[in-house]
Homo-oligomer: 184 residues x 2
DNA sequence: GGCGCCTAGTCACTTTTTTTACTATGCAAC
DNA sequence: GTTGCATAGTAAAAAAAGTGACTAGGCGCC
């Protein structure tokens, strides 16, 4: 019942196939909501059955046909109603931090390697987010955009994603330097 | 199967009752892993049955008796083995950001209020994390601690929590200022 | 002296999420 | 000429997580 709100938010400005939506979840929505493709396909079916979405089939010649989903009026109402509710507190699940919490009882070289991988992944995400943000901004400065732009919501969520990944990188580097010092 | 690693990491340096553990999850572990009390009680039972934890009953006079769990040798092994695995990528679920993503279709006053509440909550968490960090540091400076302290793991995870909550506050204030400008 | 919160849980049920394994076609590289 | 990757999904089962209600004594407060 919660995934559907993220789906509505993702589809409201841009209709998508399940496959496309899964890709968008992987590269940008992941910033505030994570979901597997399977979960999305199921949710899309349910949402269509409940009238929140409509689907139209697009025939393709060189590829399998696809179904493009868009938000119905009833879906819009649901989204608006959702924005009136109290959002649940953020849930985070980060296995890397669990490993770090247990550092004194851990296999330190493995953890070190995992931190490195996390830094690398955060660099890539940061890069992707910054590109998306640049697309939203177009030729405008942040100032101009904030005064006149119309994709304020995505601008703000992307900004949050960017600062999150930056902090990941900074933190990872701190962690590596501490490890280098304490577990040479 | 994933919650258990967080439980092991939380119990390895300090045995706890289920109730206490739930409190610790609420106030500090939440930083990298979220869980409800029910989930914890269930997981503790299973882990005891599998020999990862042992429980001893502590009789209390003015309160209900409690069962204190601690990590067994087998639990230690499991924790170490976990630190050798590739951590799964972070999963985040943040309804507030979903609401913000859908800003153009949202009930803006409600969202504004939710952002305010988030800022307030982050302030409180920041405060709590900083106090915990001060406890870990004791009278030492960060420098001294990093060179000689022994709770490096918790230091690092708390640091991550602190920067996360700071960024939440900064982001929330940016979001409010944008809203004030665009939806007066 | 009643209200509500704190401690310390248990039980039953429902929902959500994850995992694993399938079906197909097309394209590029080797 | 087959291996691997991208597109575009479906199905079923198992595991994990979340919700709500309940027990029961103690404490403080007004």
């Amino acid at each position: 019942m919660a995934l559907r709100n993220a789906v509505l938010a993702a589809l409201i400005d841009r209709e998508s196939s399940g496959y496309d939506l899964a890709k968008r979840f992987r590269v940008s929505v992941a910033n505030f909501w994570t979901s597997t493709p399977q979960q999305l396909y199921r949710e899309l079916e349910k949402m269509e059955a409940e009238g929140l979405l409509t689907a139209r089939v697009v025939k393709q010649e060189k590829r399998p046909d696809k179904r493009i989903f868009s938000v119905t009026l009833s879906g819009r109402d649901a989204l608006r109603a959702f924005t009136q509710q109290d959002p649940k507190p953020t849930t985070v699940r980060d296995e890397l931090l669990v490993q770090v919490e247990a550092l004194a009882h851990a296999d330190v070289p493995s953890v070190r390697e995992s931190i490195r991988a996390r830094i690398e992944q955060s660099r890539q995400r940061l890069d992707a987010y910054e590109k998306l943000l640049a697309e939203i901004l177009g030729p405008r400065s942040h100032e101009e955009f904030l005064a006149t732009g119309n994709r304020i919501g995505p601008y703000l969520t992307l900004s949050r994603g960017i600062s999150f990944e930056r902090e990941n990188i900074t933190w990872g580097e701190l962690a590596l330097s501490v490890l280098a010092r304490r577990y040479p």
